[in-house]
Amino acid sequence: MKTFQASIFGAAALAIAFAAQAQDYRAQAISMMKRDFHAKGIAHMDRLNEDALQLICNRSHNEPPKGIAETLQHDQLATIQYPADGKFLGDWKAGEKLAQNGRGMTWKDGGKPSGGSCYNCHQIGPATTSFGDIGNSLLHFGKIRGYGPDVQKYVYGKIYNAKAYNLCSKMPRFGHSGTLTEKQIKDLVALLLDPNSPVNK
Protein backbone atom coordinates (compact mmCIF):
# COMPACT_ATOMS: atom_id res chain seq x y z
CA MET A 1 0.00 0.00 0.00
CA LYS A 2 2.80 2.32 0.92
CA THR A 3 4.55 1.70 -2.38
CA PHE A 4 1.26 2.25 -4.16
CA GLN A 5 0.74 5.57 -2.38
CA ALA A 6 4.31 6.55 -3.05
CA SER A 7 3.94 5.79 -6.74
CA ILE A 8 0.70 7.74 -6.92
CA PHE A 9 2.41 10.63 -5.22
CA GLY A 10 5.38 10.26 -7.50
CA ALA A 11 3.19 10.22 -10.60
CA ALA A 12 1.29 13.29 -9.42
CA ALA A 13 4.51 15.14 -8.71
CA LEU A 14 5.80 14.19 -12.12
CA ALA A 15 2.58 15.38 -13.77
CA ILE A 16 2.84 18.70 -11.94
CA ALA A 17 6.48 19.01 -12.93
CA PHE A 18 5.55 18.42 -16.58
CA ALA A 19 2.70 20.92 -16.40
CA ALA A 20 5.03 23.45 -14.78
CA GLN A 21 7.54 22.96 -17.56
CA ALA A 22 4.84 23.36 -20.20
CA GLN A 23 3.76 26.59 -18.51
CA ASP A 24 7.37 27.72 -18.56
CA TYR A 25 7.62 27.26 -22.31
CA ARG A 26 4.38 29.14 -22.77
CA ALA A 27 5.46 32.07 -20.60
CA GLN A 28 8.88 32.06 -22.23
CA ALA A 29 7.40 31.99 -25.73
CA ILE A 30 5.09 34.90 -24.96
CA SER A 31 7.85 37.07 -23.52
CA MET A 32 10.08 36.18 -26.45
CA MET A 33 7.40 37.31 -28.92
CA LYS A 34 6.91 40.53 -27.01
CA ARG A 35 10.64 41.14 -27.26
CA ASP A 36 10.95 40.20 -30.96
CA PHE A 37 7.86 41.85 -32.47
CA HIS A 38 7.30 45.54 -33.16
CA ALA A 39 4.28 47.67 -33.97
CA LYS A 40 3.59 48.28 -37.65
CA GLY A 41 0.80 50.41 -39.09
CA ILE A 42 -2.42 49.73 -37.23
CA ALA A 43 -1.01 46.50 -35.79
CA HIS A 44 0.16 47.66 -32.39
CA MET A 45 2.00 45.60 -29.80
CA ASP A 46 -1.06 45.25 -27.57
CA ARG A 47 -2.31 42.70 -30.11
CA LEU A 48 0.10 40.21 -28.56
CA ASN A 49 -1.76 40.35 -25.25
CA GLU A 50 -4.37 37.65 -24.74
CA ASP A 51 -7.81 38.68 -23.58
CA ALA A 52 -9.59 36.41 -21.09
CA LEU A 53 -11.14 34.28 -23.82
CA GLN A 54 -7.93 33.83 -25.79
CA LEU A 55 -6.15 32.90 -22.56
CA ILE A 56 -8.64 30.16 -21.73
CA CYS A 57 -8.62 28.81 -25.28
CA ASN A 58 -4.81 28.88 -25.41
CA ARG A 59 -4.40 27.20 -22.04
CA SER A 60 -6.94 24.48 -22.75
CA HIS A 61 -5.81 23.84 -26.34
CA ASN A 62 -9.20 25.18 -27.46
CA GLU A 63 -11.10 22.65 -25.38
CA PRO A 64 -12.07 24.45 -22.18
CA PRO A 65 -13.92 22.65 -19.37
CA LYS A 66 -17.67 22.80 -20.04
CA GLY A 67 -18.53 24.95 -17.03
CA ILE A 68 -15.93 27.58 -17.88
CA ALA A 69 -16.93 27.55 -21.53
CA GLU A 70 -20.58 28.19 -20.67
CA THR A 71 -19.76 31.04 -18.32
CA LEU A 72 -17.44 32.69 -20.79
CA GLN A 73 -19.83 32.19 -23.71
CA HIS A 74 -22.42 33.98 -21.62
CA ASP A 75 -19.97 36.87 -21.14
CA GLN A 76 -19.33 36.98 -24.88
CA LEU A 77 -23.06 36.96 -25.61
CA ALA A 78 -23.40 40.03 -23.41
CA THR A 79 -20.94 41.94 -25.62
CA ILE A 80 -23.20 41.78 -28.66
CA GLN A 81 -24.75 45.13 -29.52
CA TYR A 82 -27.87 44.45 -31.52
CA PRO A 83 -29.16 47.14 -33.91
CA ALA A 84 -31.12 49.83 -32.08
CA ASP A 85 -33.80 49.81 -34.79
CA GLY A 86 -34.38 46.09 -34.25
CA LYS A 87 -33.81 45.38 -37.96
CA PHE A 88 -31.27 42.74 -38.94
CA LEU A 89 -31.59 42.57 -42.72
CA GLY A 90 -29.53 44.95 -44.83
CA ASP A 91 -28.66 44.83 -48.52
CA TRP A 92 -27.57 41.39 -49.75
CA LYS A 93 -25.73 42.87 -52.76
CA ALA A 94 -23.51 44.95 -50.48
CA GLY A 95 -23.18 41.84 -48.31
CA GLU A 96 -21.90 39.80 -51.26
CA LYS A 97 -19.19 42.42 -51.92
CA LEU A 98 -18.20 42.37 -48.27
CA ALA A 99 -18.08 38.58 -48.22
CA GLN A 100 -15.67 38.63 -51.17
CA ASN A 101 -13.45 41.28 -49.60
CA GLY A 102 -10.62 39.78 -47.53
CA ARG A 103 -9.03 43.04 -46.54
CA GLY A 104 -8.83 44.37 -43.01
CA MET A 105 -6.92 44.67 -39.74
CA THR A 106 -3.46 43.76 -41.07
CA TRP A 107 -0.52 46.15 -40.83
CA LYS A 108 -0.98 46.92 -44.54
CA ASP A 109 -4.58 47.97 -43.98
CA GLY A 110 -5.89 51.01 -42.24
CA GLY A 111 -8.18 53.81 -43.19
CA LYS A 112 -10.32 51.83 -45.62
CA PRO A 113 -13.32 49.88 -44.32
CA SER A 114 -12.66 46.18 -43.72
CA GLY A 115 -14.24 43.31 -45.60
CA GLY A 116 -15.74 40.21 -44.05
CA SER A 117 -13.29 37.66 -45.53
CA CYS A 118 -16.25 35.24 -45.59
CA TYR A 119 -15.36 33.32 -48.75
CA ASN A 120 -11.91 32.65 -47.33
CA CYS A 121 -13.50 30.00 -45.15
CA HIS A 122 -17.12 29.43 -46.26
CA GLN A 123 -19.02 28.37 -49.32
CA ILE A 124 -21.75 31.01 -49.68
CA GLY A 125 -23.16 32.08 -53.05
CA PRO A 126 -23.42 29.55 -55.88
CA ALA A 127 -21.42 31.68 -58.35
CA THR A 128 -18.19 31.69 -56.34
CA THR A 129 -16.31 28.42 -56.56
CA SER A 130 -13.09 29.71 -55.03
CA PHE A 131 -14.24 29.38 -51.43
CA GLY A 132 -12.36 28.02 -48.45
CA ASP A 133 -13.56 25.24 -46.20
CA ILE A 134 -12.34 26.01 -42.70
CA GLY A 135 -15.94 26.99 -41.91
CA ASN A 136 -19.10 25.12 -42.87
CA SER A 137 -21.02 25.68 -46.11
CA LEU A 138 -23.56 28.50 -45.92
CA LEU A 139 -25.15 27.80 -49.29
CA HIS A 140 -28.98 27.78 -49.02
CA PHE A 141 -28.63 29.06 -45.46
CA GLY A 142 -32.08 30.64 -45.20
CA LYS A 143 -33.74 28.03 -47.37
CA ILE A 144 -32.63 25.34 -44.93
CA ARG A 145 -32.95 27.15 -41.60
CA GLY A 146 -35.80 29.57 -42.28
CA TYR A 147 -35.95 33.34 -42.55
CA GLY A 148 -37.56 34.24 -39.22
CA PRO A 149 -36.48 36.90 -36.71
CA ASP A 150 -34.81 34.35 -34.41
CA VAL A 151 -32.55 33.10 -37.21
CA GLN A 152 -31.81 36.70 -38.20
CA LYS A 153 -30.85 37.58 -34.64
CA TYR A 154 -28.68 34.49 -34.38
CA VAL A 155 -26.80 35.23 -37.62
CA TYR A 156 -26.27 38.84 -36.58
CA GLY A 157 -24.92 37.68 -33.23
CA LYS A 158 -22.77 34.97 -34.75
CA ILE A 159 -21.04 37.46 -37.07
CA TYR A 160 -20.77 40.03 -34.29
CA ASN A 161 -19.23 37.58 -31.85
CA ALA A 162 -18.84 33.95 -32.96
CA LYS A 163 -17.38 33.07 -29.57
CA ALA A 164 -20.73 33.64 -27.89
CA TYR A 165 -21.94 30.40 -29.45
CA ASN A 166 -18.74 28.36 -29.52
CA LEU A 167 -16.09 29.66 -27.17
CA CYS A 168 -12.96 28.68 -29.06
CA SER A 169 -14.40 28.90 -32.57
CA LYS A 170 -11.85 29.76 -35.25
CA MET A 171 -14.11 32.51 -36.57
CA PRO A 172 -13.13 36.08 -35.69
CA ARG A 173 -15.43 38.28 -33.62
CA PHE A 174 -16.17 40.76 -36.38
CA GLY A 175 -18.34 43.17 -34.40
CA HIS A 176 -16.59 42.80 -31.07
CA SER A 177 -13.16 43.44 -32.63
CA GLY A 178 -14.42 46.54 -34.42
CA THR A 179 -13.73 45.00 -37.82
CA LEU A 180 -17.26 45.41 -39.21
CA THR A 181 -19.89 48.05 -38.53
CA GLU A 182 -23.54 47.43 -37.69
CA LYS A 183 -24.55 48.26 -41.26
CA GLN A 184 -21.96 45.87 -42.70
CA ILE A 185 -23.11 43.03 -40.46
CA LYS A 186 -26.72 43.69 -41.50
CA ASP A 187 -25.68 43.42 -45.14
CA LEU A 188 -24.04 40.07 -44.44
CA VAL A 189 -27.14 38.85 -42.60
CA ALA A 190 -29.12 39.76 -45.72
CA LEU A 191 -26.71 37.79 -47.90
CA LEU A 192 -27.58 34.67 -45.92
CA LEU A 193 -31.21 35.39 -45.10
CA ASP A 194 -32.79 37.55 -47.77
CA PRO A 195 -35.04 35.21 -49.79
CA ASN A 196 -33.88 37.10 -52.93
CA SER A 197 -30.19 36.52 -52.21
CA PRO A 198 -28.54 34.04 -54.61
CA VAL A 199 -27.56 32.07 -51.50
CA ASN A 200 -31.19 30.96 -51.21
CA LYS A 201 -31.93 30.39 -54.87
Binding site: Y25, M32, D36, R47, L48, L53, S130
Partner: protein
Protein backbone atom coordinates in the same frame (compact mmCIF):
# COMPACT_ATOMS: atom_id res chain seq x y z
CA UNK B 1 26.27 36.37 -64.78
CA UNK B 2 25.85 40.14 -64.51
CA UNK B 3 22.96 41.36 -62.46
CA UNK B 4 21.38 43.15 -65.42
CA UNK B 5 21.53 40.04 -67.52
CA UNK B 6 20.16 37.98 -64.63
CA UNK B 7 17.33 40.42 -64.15
CA UNK B 8 16.46 40.21 -67.83
CA UNK B 9 16.46 36.41 -67.71
CA UNK B 10 14.33 36.47 -64.59
CA UNK B 11 11.92 38.95 -66.12
CA UNK B 12 11.65 36.82 -69.23
CA UNK B 13 11.13 33.63 -67.32
CA UNK B 14 8.62 35.48 -65.16
CA UNK B 15 6.73 36.44 -68.28
CA UNK B 16 6.92 32.89 -69.54
CA UNK B 17 5.57 31.73 -66.20
CA UNK B 18 2.62 34.07 -66.37
CA UNK B 19 1.84 33.00 -69.91
CA UNK B 20 2.23 29.35 -69.04
CA UNK B 21 0.07 29.84 -65.97
CA UNK B 22 -2.65 31.37 -68.09
CA UNK B 23 -2.37 28.56 -70.59
CA UNK B 24 -2.55 26.03 -67.81
CA UNK B 25 -5.70 27.71 -66.50
CA UNK B 26 -7.43 27.29 -69.84
CA UNK B 27 -8.58 23.71 -69.93
CA UNK B 28 -9.28 23.93 -73.64
CA UNK B 29 -5.66 24.46 -74.59
CA UNK B 30 -3.35 22.70 -72.17
CA UNK B 31 0.38 22.82 -72.93
CA UNK B 32 1.63 19.64 -74.59
CA UNK B 33 3.78 18.52 -71.70
CA UNK B 34 0.84 18.82 -69.35
CA UNK B 35 -0.79 15.71 -70.75
CA UNK B 36 1.97 13.60 -69.27
CA UNK B 37 1.13 14.84 -65.81
CA UNK B 38 -2.61 15.09 -66.27
CA UNK B 39 -3.35 11.78 -64.61
CA UNK B 40 -1.70 12.67 -61.34
CA UNK B 41 -3.20 16.14 -61.33
CA UNK B 42 -6.68 14.80 -61.92
CA UNK B 43 -6.45 12.97 -58.61
CA UNK B 44 -6.40 16.28 -56.73
CA UNK B 45 -9.85 17.41 -55.66
CA UNK B 46 -9.68 21.07 -56.58
CA UNK B 47 -9.39 22.00 -60.28
CA UNK B 48 -7.38 25.18 -59.72
CA UNK B 49 -4.97 23.44 -57.37
CA UNK B 50 -4.74 20.56 -59.82
CA UNK B 51 -3.89 22.97 -62.62
CA UNK B 52 -1.19 24.51 -60.54
CA UNK B 53 0.28 21.16 -59.56
CA UNK B 54 0.36 20.11 -63.18
CA UNK B 55 2.12 23.32 -64.14
CA UNK B 56 4.39 23.08 -61.13
CA UNK B 57 5.70 19.70 -62.19
CA UNK B 58 6.52 20.97 -65.65
CA UNK B 59 8.31 24.01 -64.31
CA UNK B 60 10.24 22.19 -61.65
CA UNK B 61 12.57 20.65 -64.19
CA UNK B 62 13.71 24.09 -65.27
CA UNK B 63 13.17 26.19 -62.19
CA UNK B 64 13.81 29.94 -62.25
CA UNK B 65 15.04 29.48 -58.66
CA UNK B 66 18.30 28.19 -60.12
CA UNK B 67 19.09 31.66 -61.46
CA UNK B 68 18.95 32.97 -57.92
CA UNK B 69 21.10 30.09 -56.72
CA UNK B 70 23.72 31.08 -59.29
CA UNK B 71 23.63 34.66 -58.16
CA UNK B 72 23.94 33.58 -54.52
CA UNK B 73 26.83 31.24 -55.31
CA UNK B 74 28.76 34.07 -56.91
CA UNK B 75 27.97 36.37 -54.00
CA UNK B 76 29.10 33.72 -51.51
CA UNK B 77 32.64 33.56 -52.86
CA UNK B 78 33.02 37.24 -53.71
CA UNK B 79 34.99 39.50 -51.35
CA UNK B 80 32.35 41.95 -50.13
CA UNK B 81 31.39 44.30 -47.33
CA UNK B 82 33.47 46.80 -45.33
CA UNK B 83 35.94 44.05 -44.43
CA UNK B 84 36.23 42.91 -48.04
CA UNK B 85 36.12 39.18 -47.40
CA UNK B 86 34.04 36.33 -48.83
CA UNK B 87 31.63 34.11 -46.91
CA UNK B 88 33.74 31.04 -47.57
CA UNK B 89 34.69 30.84 -43.88
CA UNK B 90 31.07 31.11 -42.73
CA UNK B 91 30.17 28.21 -40.46
CA UNK B 92 26.65 26.99 -41.16
CA UNK B 93 26.87 24.35 -38.49
CA UNK B 94 28.92 21.71 -40.26
CA UNK B 95 32.25 23.54 -40.00
CA UNK B 96 33.68 26.70 -41.62
CA UNK B 97 32.93 26.78 -45.33
CA UNK B 98 30.81 23.61 -45.44
CA UNK B 99 27.68 24.45 -47.38
CA UNK B 100 26.65 21.04 -48.66
CA UNK B 101 23.83 19.63 -46.54
CA UNK B 102 23.81 22.55 -44.11
CA UNK B 103 20.36 23.89 -45.04
CA UNK B 104 18.45 20.71 -44.21
CA UNK B 105 20.13 20.67 -40.80
CA UNK B 106 18.97 24.12 -39.75
CA UNK B 107 17.72 25.73 -37.59
CA UNK B 108 20.29 24.53 -35.09
CA UNK B 109 21.95 25.77 -31.92
CA UNK B 110 25.18 27.69 -32.46
CA UNK B 111 27.47 27.77 -29.44
CA UNK B 112 29.40 30.80 -30.74
CA UNK B 113 26.30 33.02 -30.50
CA UNK B 114 24.39 30.98 -27.92
CA UNK B 115 21.38 31.19 -30.23
CA UNK B 116 19.10 29.06 -32.34
CA UNK B 117 19.64 30.08 -35.94
CA UNK B 118 17.83 29.26 -39.14
CA UNK B 119 19.76 29.50 -42.42
CA UNK B 120 18.96 33.17 -43.04
CA UNK B 121 19.66 34.23 -39.47
CA UNK B 122 23.03 32.48 -39.65
CA UNK B 123 23.90 34.00 -43.01
CA UNK B 124 23.03 37.47 -41.73
CA UNK B 125 25.26 36.74 -38.73
CA UNK B 126 28.13 35.76 -41.04
CA UNK B 127 27.62 38.88 -43.17
CA UNK B 128 27.86 41.01 -40.05
CA UNK B 129 30.66 39.12 -38.28
CA UNK B 130 32.87 38.27 -41.24
CA UNK B 131 32.11 40.95 -43.80
CA UNK B 132 31.28 43.84 -41.50
CA UNK B 133 27.80 44.60 -42.78
CA UNK B 134 25.47 46.31 -40.31
CA UNK B 135 22.66 44.11 -39.03
CA UNK B 136 20.26 47.06 -38.90
CA UNK B 137 20.93 47.76 -42.60
CA UNK B 138 20.22 44.16 -43.56
CA UNK B 139 17.00 44.17 -41.53
CA UNK B 140 15.77 47.40 -43.13
CA UNK B 141 14.60 45.92 -46.44
CA UNK B 142 14.95 42.16 -46.06
CA UNK B 143 12.37 41.02 -48.63
CA UNK B 144 12.29 40.98 -52.43
CA UNK B 145 10.23 43.72 -53.97
CA UNK B 146 9.93 44.72 -57.61
CA UNK B 147 13.43 44.36 -59.06
CA UNK B 148 15.05 44.59 -55.62
CA UNK B 149 16.67 41.36 -54.48
CA UNK B 150 18.16 41.47 -50.96
CA UNK B 151 21.59 39.81 -50.66
CA UNK B 152 20.52 37.34 -47.95
CA UNK B 153 17.71 36.04 -50.21
CA UNK B 154 20.18 35.14 -52.98
CA UNK B 155 22.59 33.67 -50.44
CA UNK B 156 19.92 31.56 -48.70
CA UNK B 157 18.74 30.30 -52.08
CA UNK B 158 22.28 29.24 -52.94
CA UNK B 159 22.79 27.54 -49.59
CA UNK B 160 19.42 25.79 -49.86
CA UNK B 161 20.29 24.56 -53.36
CA UNK B 162 23.33 22.86 -51.85
CA UNK B 163 20.95 20.60 -49.87
CA UNK B 164 18.91 19.53 -52.88
CA UNK B 165 17.69 15.93 -52.65
CA UNK B 166 18.95 15.53 -49.11
CA UNK B 167 16.98 14.32 -46.13
CA UNK B 168 15.62 16.98 -43.79
CA UNK B 169 17.40 16.42 -40.48
CA UNK B 170 16.83 19.40 -38.20
CA UNK B 171 18.83 18.51 -35.08
CA UNK B 172 17.28 17.86 -31.68
CA UNK B 173 20.42 16.62 -29.99
CA UNK B 174 21.09 19.59 -27.73
CA UNK B 175 18.79 20.72 -24.91
CA UNK B 176 18.63 24.19 -26.50
CA UNK B 177 17.34 22.61 -29.72
CA UNK B 178 14.70 20.63 -27.89
CA UNK B 179 13.64 23.73 -25.98
CA UNK B 180 13.41 25.67 -29.26
CA UNK B 181 11.01 23.03 -30.60
CA UNK B 182 8.81 23.41 -27.51
CA UNK B 183 8.90 27.19 -27.74
CA UNK B 184 8.10 27.03 -31.45
CA UNK B 185 5.13 24.81 -30.69
CA UNK B 186 3.85 27.40 -28.20
CA UNK B 187 4.25 30.21 -30.74
CA UNK B 188 2.47 28.08 -33.35
CA UNK B 189 -0.54 27.62 -31.09
CA UNK B 190 -0.71 31.10 -29.55
CA UNK B 191 -4.02 32.79 -30.32
CA UNK B 192 -4.17 36.55 -29.95
CA UNK B 193 -4.86 39.74 -31.86
CA UNK B 194 -8.16 41.21 -33.08
CA UNK B 195 -9.10 38.06 -35.00
CA UNK B 196 -8.05 35.51 -32.36
CA UNK B 197 -5.77 33.74 -34.84
CA UNK B 198 -2.81 31.46 -34.21
CA UNK B 199 -0.75 29.67 -36.86
CA UNK B 200 -2.81 26.61 -35.98
CA UNK B 201 -6.10 28.33 -36.84
CA UNK B 202 -5.31 27.80 -40.52
CA UNK B 203 -2.51 25.24 -40.36
CA UNK B 204 -3.63 22.87 -37.64
CA UNK B 205 -6.07 20.63 -39.51
CA UNK B 206 -5.77 18.28 -42.46
CA UNK B 207 -7.09 19.08 -45.93
CA UNK B 208 -8.31 22.62 -45.40
CA UNK B 209 -8.13 25.57 -47.73
CA UNK B 210 -8.48 29.34 -47.78
CA UNK B 211 -10.23 30.16 -51.03
CA UNK B 212 -8.51 27.72 -53.40
CA UNK B 213 -5.20 27.70 -51.57
CA UNK B 214 -4.57 24.38 -49.88
CA UNK B 215 -3.36 24.73 -46.31
CA UNK B 216 -0.76 22.32 -45.03
CA UNK B 217 -1.34 21.01 -41.52
CA UNK B 218 2.03 22.02 -40.15
CA UNK B 219 1.46 20.22 -36.88
CA UNK B 220 1.24 16.87 -38.65
CA UNK B 221 4.17 14.79 -39.75
CA UNK B 222 2.76 14.13 -43.21
CA UNK B 223 2.03 17.75 -44.11
CA UNK B 224 4.80 19.60 -42.28
CA UNK B 225 7.22 18.94 -45.10
CA UNK B 226 5.21 21.41 -47.16
CA UNK B 227 6.47 24.22 -44.93
CA UNK B 228 10.02 23.23 -45.84
CA UNK B 229 9.50 22.08 -49.41
CA UNK B 230 9.65 24.67 -52.14
CA UNK B 231 11.32 27.31 -49.95
CA UNK B 232 13.12 29.44 -50.81
CA UNK B 233 10.52 29.78 -53.52
CA UNK B 234 10.03 31.69 -56.72
CA UNK B 235 6.57 33.08 -56.25
CA UNK B 236 4.57 33.36 -59.42
CA UNK B 237 2.41 36.06 -57.83
CA UNK B 238 4.66 39.02 -58.50
CA UNK B 239 7.55 36.94 -59.80
CA UNK B 240 9.67 37.31 -56.68
CA UNK B 241 12.11 35.08 -54.85
CA UNK B 242 11.18 34.63 -51.22
CA UNK B 243 12.64 32.78 -48.25
CA UNK B 244 10.98 31.34 -45.15
CA UNK B 245 11.71 34.61 -43.34
CA UNK B 246 9.31 36.31 -45.75
CA UNK B 247 6.76 33.50 -45.47
CA UNK B 248 6.69 33.77 -41.67
CA UNK B 249 6.46 37.58 -41.88
CA UNK B 250 3.49 37.49 -44.23
CA UNK B 251 1.76 34.78 -42.20
CA UNK B 252 1.98 36.94 -39.08
CA UNK B 253 0.62 39.87 -41.09
CA UNK B 254 -2.40 37.81 -42.04
CA UNK B 255 -2.67 36.56 -38.50
CA UNK B 256 -3.28 40.26 -37.76
CA UNK B 257 -0.27 40.35 -35.44
CA UNK B 258 2.36 43.09 -35.18
CA UNK B 259 5.49 42.49 -37.25
CA UNK B 260 8.01 39.86 -36.14
CA UNK B 261 11.64 40.92 -36.10
CA UNK B 262 13.62 39.82 -39.16
CA UNK B 263 15.92 36.89 -38.40
CA UNK B 264 14.69 36.88 -34.80
CA UNK B 265 14.70 34.05 -32.28
CA UNK B 266 10.90 33.80 -32.50
CA UNK B 267 11.18 32.93 -36.19
CA UNK B 268 14.11 30.55 -35.61
CA UNK B 269 12.12 28.65 -32.98
CA UNK B 270 9.00 28.54 -35.11
CA UNK B 271 11.06 27.19 -38.02
CA UNK B 272 12.60 24.64 -35.66
CA UNK B 273 9.14 23.37 -34.74
CA UNK B 274 8.10 23.02 -38.37
CA UNK B 275 11.47 21.74 -39.54
CA UNK B 276 11.63 18.97 -36.97
CA UNK B 277 8.08 17.96 -37.87
CA UNK B 278 9.31 17.56 -41.45
CA UNK B 279 12.38 15.51 -40.53
CA UNK B 280 13.02 12.44 -42.63
CA UNK B 281 11.57 13.82 -45.86
CA UNK B 282 13.65 14.54 -48.93
CA UNK B 283 14.22 18.26 -49.56
CA UNK B 284 13.87 18.99 -53.26
CA UNK B 285 15.65 22.34 -53.19
CA UNK B 286 14.46 25.88 -53.94
CA UNK B 287 11.22 25.75 -55.83
CA UNK B 288 8.21 27.50 -57.25
CA UNK B 289 5.28 28.81 -55.31
CA UNK B 290 1.90 29.96 -56.42
Amino acid sequence: MSSIKLRAVVALSGLALVCAAQAAQKESAPPKKAAVHAKKAAAAKDPVAADFEKFHEIMEEDSPAELFEAKGAEMWKTKRGPKHVSLEKCNLGLGPGVVKGAYVQMPRYFADTGQMMDAERRIVYCMVKLQGFKEADLAKKPFSKGSYLPDPVALVTYVAGQSRNMKIAVPQKLPQERAAYKLGEEIFNYRAGPWDFSCATCHGEDNKRIRTQNLPNLASKVDAVRAFQGWPGYRMTGGLMHTLQWRMNDCFRQQRFPEPGYASETIADLLTYMGVNANGYLYKGPGIKR
